[in-house]
């Protein structure tokens, strides 16, 4: 158990800590159910599961204030949406392509949006949302607001032209944005070291004068602290930040990926670092949690997800006319 974190446990409110754990649990149960429903053909197309990475979204987003801050994610976005406080009912309904989905059935897994909670969406094109996130930061700066933008993307996106162009401009324009690379080590089926000239991504901001840091993504509090630091610096000093948060996904890239590119041993070793279990043990060790309470929370999450599934099942298909809605604002 990372020593750093044990010391810091005292610095946090109990509610805050339990909130982190419960949100990670909710994401975990949600993703597991989504996977199950996909297998039952209730969900089709893409489904990129966040299982194993929960600490990143939860730790990061709990470090910001969504009333003034914004979140942009890529296609592995369910965790970010839930961490932003989006209603699991509405997210599951979107996966089910129903009219009550967050995007009225028109988006799907990769396009989770909750504008009110400043969850500015997932995006299906690798790296395409990175400049868009910076544009949102431009608005904050222009309007002299005190917000910050968190822009999440993966190790597969960090070599995209859009990443480099954006970091350059974010630096020139002094935009309040934190670029968060969730390095789960595999860009689809390719181990990141094979396709990266530099293996420490945190230095890649250096070409643009942007400070970078590597973070242990299985430790939710480490994530929280790192993002908080970078976010406040961006907010106050208008200096963008780059974080490489090292994490791991327990499932394949998507539902069609058998993930043969890694060994069982590797997977098992990371499962031992399950961020949920890590925090659970920390809290238990710190006397803030017992198994019974944990089980209650877990059951509550399972129930909440079951409700979401029921909600999605009962929700209606979008009527045919909606095909033509939301193409343009009339």
């Amino acid at each position: 158990m990372p020593e750093q974190t044990t010391k810091q446990l005292k610095n946090y409110k109990k509610d805050f800590l339990s909130g982190l754990l419960r949100t990670m649990l909710l994401i975990r149960r949600f993703e597991e159910n989504a996977s199950k429903m996909y297998g039952l053909k209730k969900i089709g197309g893409f489904l990129h599961l966040y299982i194993g990475e929960e600490a990143v979204a939860v730790g990061a987003i709990s470090a910001v204030d969504l009333k003034r801050d914004y979140v942009f994610a890529a296609y592995r976005d369910h965790g970010h949406a839930i961490a932003c406080g989006a209603d699991p009912n509405v997210l599951m309904a979107e996966l089910y392509a129903k009219i009550d989905g967050c995007s009225r059935g028109k988006g799907g897994s990769m396009h989770m949006f909750d504008a009110e909670k400043h969850m500015m969406g997932g995006n299906g094109i690798v790296g395409a949302h990175i400049p868009v996130a910076a544009g949102c930061a431009l608005k904050i700066k222009y309007k002299k607001e005190d917000g910050v933008v968190l822009c999440f993307f993966g190790d597969g996106a960090i070599h995209q032209g859009s990443f480099h162009e954006t970091l350059n401009m974010a630096s020139i324009l002094k935009l309040p944005i934190v670029f968060i690379c969730e390095n789960n080590q595999y860009g689809m089926g390719t181990y990141y070291e094979r396709v990266s000239s530099v293996h420490d991504f945190s230095v890649m901001g250096g070409s643009y004068g942007i400070p970078g840091k590597q973070v242990d993504g299985m430790d939710v509090l480490a994530v929280y602290e790192a993002v908080k630091e970078a976010a406040e610096r961006a907010r106050k000093e208008r200096i963008p930040g780059l974080l490489e948060i090292k994490t791991y996904r327990y499932r394949g890239h998507s539902m069609s990926d058998p993930a043969k590119y890694r060994t069982k041993e590797e997977l098992d070793s990371y499962k031992k670092q399950d961020p949920i279990l890590i925090l659970k043990e920390e809290l238990t060790a710190g006397g803030l949690l017992d198994d019974k309470t944990y089980k209650q929370w877990d059951d509550a999450c399972k129930k909440q997800v079951k409700n979401a599934v029921d909600f999605a099942e009962q929700s209606k298909e979008p009527p045919l006319e909606t095909l033509y809605e939301d193409v343009l604002i009339e």
Binding site: Y70, G101, C102, S103, R104, G105, K106, G107, H111, F113, D114, A115, M120, G121, N123, G124, I125, A128, H129, I130, P131, V132, A133, A134, G135, C136, A137, L138, K139, I140, K141, Y142, K143, G161, S162, H164, E165, T166, N168, M169, I172, L173, E325, D326, V327, L328, I329
Partner: protein
């Protein structure tokens, strides 16, 4: 009424809209200190400052995406592409983000942005710098596409485009920037999606837009001398297309020629031609004729370059063909 250039008309439009709404900002290469590669944004930096008129590095994908992000977040940016040729690098942002954000988010996020710049061939610029790309943008649902041919239309349409809550691709032309025309001094807007009958005539409906308008007008002058009266319809907006004006004209003249600078394959001319053939079938005395750019990359040699583009002769020949002369 004062006569101003196309360039000045655009500048006035941006100036007026920036004065009217402080959410309007301009970003692009050379738009600020250089006063614009084609001087369209001249004086705006001095007037509105560096927070509103932003020089970007040469990163079309990046700054186009940033513009889209600013729009999504609530501003009303104008993104200037030095030429539409360079916009190809930003296509992913326009097509996958700008055009689809409203739809993908179920109506939650809108993109009130204008992408603008010169489109089509100029002179001696060769193939990579002479492309007329309206076909590509007009193809995409979720975008609006505007292509004016006069200073009057340019100003009124650009103002409307800036006020439109949807992503608008606004196409100008290097060769048109110095064209002059009468523009009223007061405030006026031209709605998107309305074509304009630039000349009334009884014999042939010639449908066109952008730079070829002058070629068509010259053809009309010459043909009038032979007793042939063209009706010229300037589409002005390509998406959404004002088909009613076109159909009403063809129902009157029974003959149609479509003139379009872009390449012929799957282009605007073929689409408008299909619409006319389909909706005005019983009114046509001859098949629809099209005059388009030649199906080749643009050559450097100027004579060849002119041969690639619609010309007065080509238009006259097409008119005579539909009149069986």
């Amino acid at each position: 009424m004062p006569k101003i250039t196309f360039r000045e008309a655009l500048r006035q439009a941006m100036d007026e809209e920036m004065a009217r709404d402080e959410d309007v900002i301009l970003l692009g290469e050379e738009v600020a200190l250089y006063n614009g590669a084609y001087k369209v944004s001249k004086g705006l930096y001095e007037k509105y400052g560096e927070s509103r008129v932003i020089d970007t590095p040469i990163t079309e994908e990046g700054f186009t995406g940033i513009g889209i992000g600013a729009a999504v977040a609530g501003l009303r940016p104008i993104v200037e592409w030095m030429t539409l040729n360079f916009s190809i690098q930003a296509l992913d942002q326009v097509i996958n983000n700008a055009a689809k954000m409203l739809y993908m988010s179920g109506g939650q996020l809108s993109v009130p942005i204008v992408f603008r710049g010169p489109n089509g061939p100029a002179e001696y610029l060769s193939s990579q710098h002479s492309q007329a790309l309206q076909t590509i943008y007009t193809h995409i649902p979720g975008l609006k596409v505007v292509s004016p041919a006069t200073p009057y239309d340019a100003k009124g349409l650009l103002k409307s485009a800036i006020r439109d809550n949807n992503p608008v691709v606004f196409m100008e032309a290097e060769m048109m920037y110095s064209w002059e025309g009468e523009v009223p001094e007061g405030e006026y807007l031209i709605p998107l999606g309305k074509a304009d009958v630039k000349r009334q005539g009884k014999d042939v409906s010639v449908v066109t837009y952008a730079k070829p308008l002058r070629v068509v007008q010259e053809a009309a002058r010459r043909l009038a001398g032979q007793g042939i009266e063209l009706e010229i319809i300037d589409l002005r907006t390509l998406r959404p297309l004002d088909t009613q004006t076109v159909f009403a004209s063809v129902q009157k003249t029974n003959r149609c020629v479509v003139v379009d600078e872009a390449w012929p394959v799957c282009g605007m001319a073929s689409y408008v031609g299909y619409l006319v053939a389909h909706h005005c079938f019983d009114d046509l005395d001859a098949p629809v004729e099209t005059v388009t750019g030649e199906d080749v990359p643009m050559p450097y040699n100027h004579t060849l370059e002119l041969a690639v583009q619609p010309s007065v002769e080509k238009v006259i020949n097409a008119v005579k063909k539909v009149m069986y002369l």
